[in-house]
Homo-oligomer: 203 residues x 2
């Protein structure tokens, strides 16, 4: 493989299936993905895949959960720093302007599977959960900022909804267009919004 | 059909193929769509579809262009009103909080096909074009606002990129999650951004 993957040493069967699924998905896309093709990337017996999962969508949801855990493990953790620094650090990560090959592939995989949601209840439930988790994460940071007095008494849910919408929009646009999305500009405008609307004015 | 469609009286073959494709796509989703299934929704001979289009993706790109024309024909046109009123009117349309059944289906269709882009060059080119058209549209309004003096001397391309990102994010999120996306809150925060960052302060 020409790029790093979110998979460590695939010693366990489950991890090995996840890696095979990820590689087959990148190579064939969702539409042309089959358990057969996952099996082609899998060094052990294909029957192990069937023993763990009922079908293609079930393996993919397991992959999404695996990838999300990996993504979250890389995210800056809220520390003792103030809530505003914490929020901007998280945004540095989720709105990174240069994605390495691994992040770029991961983003495409997430966007492609999200695109199945209108016709696929399993994926729709997964992405509903996923959005809920991220919105909650943003809202908790904003809530802390309000308590700390670094933020105005804004509604954390509203700010979180807006921030998540900007993050989703730039993620989807850069995975689905040939043009370079100007993520640096998007981030600067989002910062301007936070400065004007959320941050308490400095005395 | 339980809802209106963007198709008038399907007197012409081309319009009839578009309608059949749209209905088949809504019913089966992209993955399970075939020319055969489009043919099942088509009152005339299936051979007419093959005469007009080389395959499934070509029919779908024609459908996307057809739908985009329809969508654009419904958008508020820039009139003699000032640029800021014009921008907010366009946002009223693209970020409408209550989508009727037609718009909701159309949004799902667009998001599902956009999700093919990472693995499908034809769709990726289409959506790159599509984003370029919308960004240009937003930038032209902002540019006019700067000239009129209603806006500060902002970079119209930067503002347009941000606005398009918010619109894309809310479109994708509401087509792919079960939860209600709080589009009213998103719009209010976008307005707050425009007021603070773009609108010239009133004397």
């Amino acid at each position: 493989m020409a790029f790093d993957t979110p998979f460590g040493s695939p010693s366990e069967t489950r991890t090995a299936i996840m890696r095979a699924t990820y590689e087959a998905l990148i190579e064939h896309g969702y539409e042309n993905l089959t358990i057969q093709r996952i099996g082609d990337e899998f060094p052990k017996s294909k029957s192990l895949i069937y023993r763990h999962y009922d079908g293609k969508d079930e393996v993919l949801v397991a992959l999404l959960e695996f990838l999300l855990d990996h993504f979250e493990s890389q995210m800056p953790q809220p520390t003792t720093e103030n809530a505003d620094d914490c929020l901007r650090n998280v945004l540095d990560f989720v709105l990174a302007s240069d994605l390495d090959a691994e992040r770029a592939e991961l983003t495409k995989v997430m966007v492609e599977l999200r695109g199945q949601s209108p016709h696929n209840r399993v994926f729709r439930e997964y992405f509903s959960d996923n959005d809920r988790t991220f919105r909650r994460g943003f809202a908790e940071i904003v809530e802390r900022g309000v308590e700390e007095g670094v933020y105005r008494p804004v509604d954390p849910e509203v700010v979180a909804e807006f921030v998540l919408t900007v993050v989703s929009g730039s993620t989807v646009r850069r995975a689905t267009t040939d043009d370079t999305v100007d993520v640096i500009a998007v981030r600067r405008e989002l910062d301007a919004y936070l400065d004007a609307r959320v941050l308490r004015e400095q005395e």
